[in-house]
Every structure is written in C-alpha cells, then in structure tokens.
Subunit: 412 residues, 2 copies
C-alpha cells in the first residue's frame, strides 16, 4: 500500500512551525507496513490543495491530509475535497453537539464558523476529535482512501490513536496482531550495533528488526505479525534473547524507558535514596532525574558546586586534593560523591566533574569527565572522554553517570 | 519570486527524522521576500527525484533541493539533476582537495564514493561546504534556479549563511541592505502583544514587523530595506522606540539573547555573584544558567533541596516555617534564598519552590510557584500561578525566576 501525506498550512511554508505531523504519521504508517512515498506541504489555498489532491490520488492508495479543518476562513481542506469530487458538505450530529456544548459550557454561542468544524463530505466516515472540535474523516474515491485529520499535533495524535488506528486495523486483519517492542541500548553506536546484529536484521522478516539512532542512544524495534497474541509475545522474547547474545550488555530498557527513569527504578528497588553533586553539568543531572514524576520518593537533592570554593565548603572536598589533583580529577570526583552522600544523608551519592568547554581547564581538553559513585561501603570513579560541543558534552555527561550507576548492578 | 523546497531522504518518509531543513529554509526565504509555495519530501530514488524536479521547475523561479549529496549509493540528487537536463558531472577542484585532505589527516585514502561528494553539474556554480565534505551548487535552467544543499542541518545552515545568502544578495541589490533586528519579549502572550502593536504592524511596510511566538516568549522581527546601512539602523531604532511605547516593559533582549544570558550579564554588570536554591525545578535553573559559557565568572553554585529535610539541613530553612507554612510558601522561598546566599557566600541568592505536578502538594495545585530573591540588604518573594503539564511548569518556573531578577533592575 502506497501513501502520500499532505500537510496544509501557510504557517508551515513561512517556517513558523515544523511539519512534525509528517514525521509522526510516517512512523505510524511505516510501522503498519504502509509505504510512504511522498510528503507535500501546501498553503491554505483552495486551488493548490485541489492540485495536491489530484496529483496524490493518481499515485497512491492512501492520502492523508492534515490541517485546514479549523473554524477560520482559510481552513478549506474539507471544501477542497468536496469540490474536487463534487460532494456535499453535511453536519455530523455528534461533532455539532460537541461544538454546541463547548460554547454552552462557557456561556457563549458558537458562530457559524465554529459550527463548520462539524462538517464532513457526504459519504465519508467521521472520526471523532477527543481533544478539540474539528472532526476528521475518511473518504474513499475509486481506489484511493482519503483521510483528513486536524493540524494541531495533540488533536492529530489522539485522533490517530483512538480512531484511525482501529479503523485501519478493521480494514486488514493483520493489523490486529501486529505487536512491537523497542529495545533501548546505551554505550554503543548505531553502526557498531548494526554490525553486531547485521545477519539477524538481514535474515529476519518476522519479527522485523528496525534500528534507529536516538539522541545519544540506539534502539531496535522488533515488530511481529501473528494471528495469536501469545505466540507474538513469545516470538519477540525469542528474538530479544537472540539479539542479546550479541549486544545484551548495552541493553538498558524497553519502549518508554529512559536512563533517568531506570535510575529511579534501580534506586527504589534497592530501597536506597540518592543525592547528586554536579560541577560541569550545573544541575542538569538533578533536573533530569526530577523530570520523572515520583522522583521525590528516592531523590534527596543535590549540590551544584561550580566553583572550587563551593566544592570545599558544600562537599568537604579537601583543599589539598584540589591543589594536588585539581577539580577535574578522580580524587575530586570521589570526594564530591562521598561529600554529597554524607551531607544529604543519602545511601548513594553520585558526582560529576570535568570540562564542558569550549576552553581547556586545568590542562584538560573539553569532554574530560570523572564520575564518582559513593555507596556506604564502596566508592567508584569512572573516567570518560566525550566529544562534541558544550551542550553535547553536558548532556552526555549526565547520561554517562546514569549508565554507570545502572551498570554497577550488572556487576560491571 | 516563487520557490519550492524539495527534501530528499527515505529516512524522512520513514519518520526517523523531521524535515527541519524545510522550516529553516522557509524562514530564510520568507525573510528575503521569496514566496515559498510548496514543500515536497521524496525518497532516495532517482526517478522520483526527477519527477519532483520536473514538477517544481514548471511552477517556480527557485527550487531548493536538500539532501542526497553524500557518499553512499543512494545519494543521487546531483545525478537526478544531471540526467534531467542532460548535463555532465565534473569534479570541483577545491571540494576534491577538501575530501583528499580530510582523509590524509586521518592517514586514510578516500574511496571513489567519498570523492563523488566533490562532483557538480557542469555549468553550475559551486557552494563550499564549511562543515562537511559534500559541495552544494546553484544551476540555472531556463527561468528556474536550482539550489542543491547538503542534508545534515548543520552543514546546510552554514552553507546557506556563508554561501547562498551572499549569492542571493548579489543577484538582487535590495538584499545587500536588508537589515533585521529581533526584539525579545517575556511575560506577555502573542495575541496580547499583537493587539498592542496591531496598528503599527498593519501600517508598516518598511521596516516590516513580524511577530513570532517562541517557547514561552514572543519576538518581533523588524526588517528594513534601505540603500544605506546607517539609515537602515536608524529606521530600526525609531521603530523599536515606537514599539516600546506600547510594550517596552516586556522587552528583555535582542537577537540571540536568552533570559539566562541576560541574567549572567545583569549579575556581571553589577559586580555580583549568584547562587541558586531549587526545589520543584530540581537543578534546571542551575543547568540553564551554566549552559551559557562564561557562567563560572558569576555563578557560585547552588543547592537542589527536593526534600523538606534537605531544605532545613542545606539551607537552614526553619522547621517551624515548614510546619506552619509548608514548603510551598512565601516564607520558605524567602528562607531558601537567604540560606543559599549565606551558604554559598554569594551576593544574590535566588530560590524556587512550588508544585510541578501532576499531583497537588500541601493543598496547592500544580503550577503554584514562589520565587525568592535575596540581596545583602533586601529580600523579595514573588508568587506565580503557572499552567501546563509538569515539564511546562518546570521550564516556565526557571524563566519566571530569571524574568523577576531582571525586572528588579527596572525598579519593578
């Protein structure tokens, strides 16, 4: 099945926003085995939308059009489809009720423009909008299926998940038993990981294995088609076990896991509490950990010790250590981790000291990094050398710290 | 002048990456007065790239094609243009030298595939790649100007700024005296700002005033066309003064300024030092400030006091304060700011306490925020109520803190 995704919106052509809907829909369709052959972006212009519809209908089984379903004058996507195929626009009762209720709740009357959001082309099946007012729709013309979705990403995603996905599944039995699992790896590059599992990727057709490079990490998405859910699960388990033979030491989580959520989980499972001491990252580790709701159960807090003075005063780093080894050193990282663990009375203390750049510091180039991890009966220090600009080094430094903390568990 | 932007890359159609180049180029071209009528994304496929070229050439004066200039087999953009117009591909000497040098420095030999990055279509003018190896080019066929640029965003941006922009300027005299200034506002919404300067926006043609909503802030970009640079500067000054009559109290900076760079500048200008105390933001304020290279000159460090216990122990917040008012309170914010100023021996201490959500805390809903600012002879506390999810509340909380610190200067 071939598809084109048409995004409608002059703001896209002015560069005010990016076509993130195109990426989201491409991912979803690819996942379902649909071949996306083209993205097109056109402005809020009836004629140009019609031209895009004509061109897309010739070459595709499926055409998804996003945007232009709102209440303003320049929202003309549904009009373009109606004019192109000489169809009437009619009100969907439920969508109209949604518009009326929305305004009634605010003690207002909807205008005719507001009501237009409940219009669909006659013969289409309507998709409900769970997070907004403009309804979506699917309309089949000859061999082409047109799917119209609202432009705001949140509305589009919710409509796709709750309405379009089940609709497509009902069109094709194989959708119902399509099961995916994403394996998340840290500490290995995309090409190195691919080289290790290359034969598996090439040989496998079910489950399929799709590598994808994320920010500082790599994922493999396993997707299986089966008529039985339990069997599908089992096939994913087997494939994961096979993959882990080649690169299991880098696997840290699944699906929506992050290094930060795994750190909190790890600390919680062990019944511990955590404190952080940060120099070059200036609070980014603490911020990343507390991004996760529920962090307060295990995270005591931390010290941002940007100056040498604060390392001494807040974390009891020895003046002699700083003089002899400098603040960018194994010794300083160890004392920072011990210091924060003691000062915040936590079970585990983790520290970061190094050079973010752009300039050298104490004779060390940007990217030099020392990570200290302090437990009640043991201290560890790791030295790493990262590449990249200031922002990249800082971002990767906090991930390195988390990865090492998680690796301890594996007895590495 | 009408333009279409074609992005080449199967990874875009698979949803692995988003077409950020489309947005960037749209912004640049719009800024230059070029009308962008269409974006197209096609895969790494010779035939489909040629079809896209044919269609775009019919309707546009300018066609920008991004991607597909790299060293691998599926990089066929230059081949598509060459085949379409029956042109030879020839090596650019400088680009070839760049490839050779790159590999020599690594004690390697470039392959023929690597050398392909130095090929251009005969008759084109070559654009140098300052951050990569694939050269870009501009080729005129009849009335259409084709501009080929590399896909990696960093390479594309640098090439656009250093090569394409001056080239376009040379094509059209008015480019040479196109001058822009971006005014950055915080604390006022897009529609409220537009309402205040609505008449100016409508009346003005030179300079033009373009409002744009950024993340948590709004900008106005003033662009003037003039044959004299000094005169252009003066027109921008006058327009800025006019705008500031209506919303000057929200203006915090220009062009690449951020609230964080302005805070550092503010502290530095006053000869002060700064320390931070964070509860709900968990280190994000410290992290944002230390994102700016040079922060170490004024930033002492800070305490992340996520638990009540750590607020008492690390910042000397009174147990009675916590019991009587709770940690989400004016009193706690004040004591945190005083505490961190004293503990880190800084001139200014700034604190954040509140509720990030998703749950209520101490009876306060998510978004409740107290900001404390402590100077040697004065303390201030601000209460704010933010809306949004956990991530938004945390992000905006650190910006609110910075905005208030900067506002103090204005005697607000």
């Amino acid at each position: 099945m071939n598809a084109e995704i048409i995004a409608v919106g002059t703001e896209l052509l002015l560069g005010q926003i990016s076509n993130t809907n195109g990426q989201y829909l491409s991912k979803q369709l690819t996942h379902h085995g649909v071949n996306v052959y083209k993205h097109t972006v056109v402005g809020d212009n009836l004629l140009r939308i019609r031209q895009a519809i004509q061109a897309a209908a010739k070459a595709n089984d499926m055409v998804i059009i996003t945007g232009g379903l709102g209440p303003t004058e320049d929202d003309v996507t549904r009009n373009a489809l109606a004019e192109e195929y000489d169809l009437d626009l009619v009100y969907d009762e439920r969508a109209l009720q949604q518009v009326e209720s929305f305004f009634q709740e605010r003690n207002q009357q909807p205008s005719d423009a507001n009501r237009r959001q409940a219009l669909y082309v006659q013969g289409a099946q309507v998709f409900q909008n769970h997070t907004g007012l403009a309804c979506g729709m699917v309309y089949k013309h000859e061999n082409t299926m047109f799917i119209l979705l609202p432009g705001p990403p949140r509305e589009l995603k919710t409509m796709f998940e709750k309405e379009v996905d089940p609709f497509l599944a009902a069109q094709d039995d194989t959708y119902a038993f399509l099961l995916s699992r994403t394996l998340r790896f840290y500490g290995i590059g995309e090409s190195a990981l691919e080289a290790r599992v290359h034969d598996l990727i090439v040989e496998q057709t079910n489950p399929t294995i799709a590598p994808l490079a994320g920010e500082d990490e790599v994922t493999l998405r396993l997707t299986v088609r089966d008529t039985d859910r339990k069997n599908a699960e089992k096939q994913l388990d087997n494939m994961e076990a096979e993959i882990c033979k080649y690169c299991g030491e880098f696997l840290y989580g699944y699906d929506d896991d992050t290094l930060f959520s795994k750190v909190i989980e790890h600390i919680k499972i062990n019944g511990w509490s955590l404190a952080t001491a940060e120099s070059l990252t200036g609070g980014q580790l603490g911020s990343s950990i507390t991004d996760i709701a529920g962090a307060s159960e295990v995270y005591q807090g931390g010290a941002i010790t940007y100056s040498d003075e604060s390392k001494q005063k807040q974390l009891n780093v020895d003046a002699a250590t700083l003089q002899q080894h400098g603040s960018v050193s194994q010794a300083c990282a160890r004392e920072m981790a011990e210091g924060v663990r003691s000062r915040y009375q936590s079970d585990v203390g983790i520290s970061l000291t190094g050079v973010a750049g752009p300039d050298d510091q104490e004779g060390h180039p940007p990217g030099t990094l020392f990570i200290g991890i302090s437990y009640p009966h043991m201290n560890r220090v790791y030295e790493r050398h990262l590449s990249g600009d200031r922002e990249t080094i800082r971002r990767r430094a906090v991930k390195e710290a988390c990865a090492w903390l998680l690796n301890e568990e594996k007895g590495d």
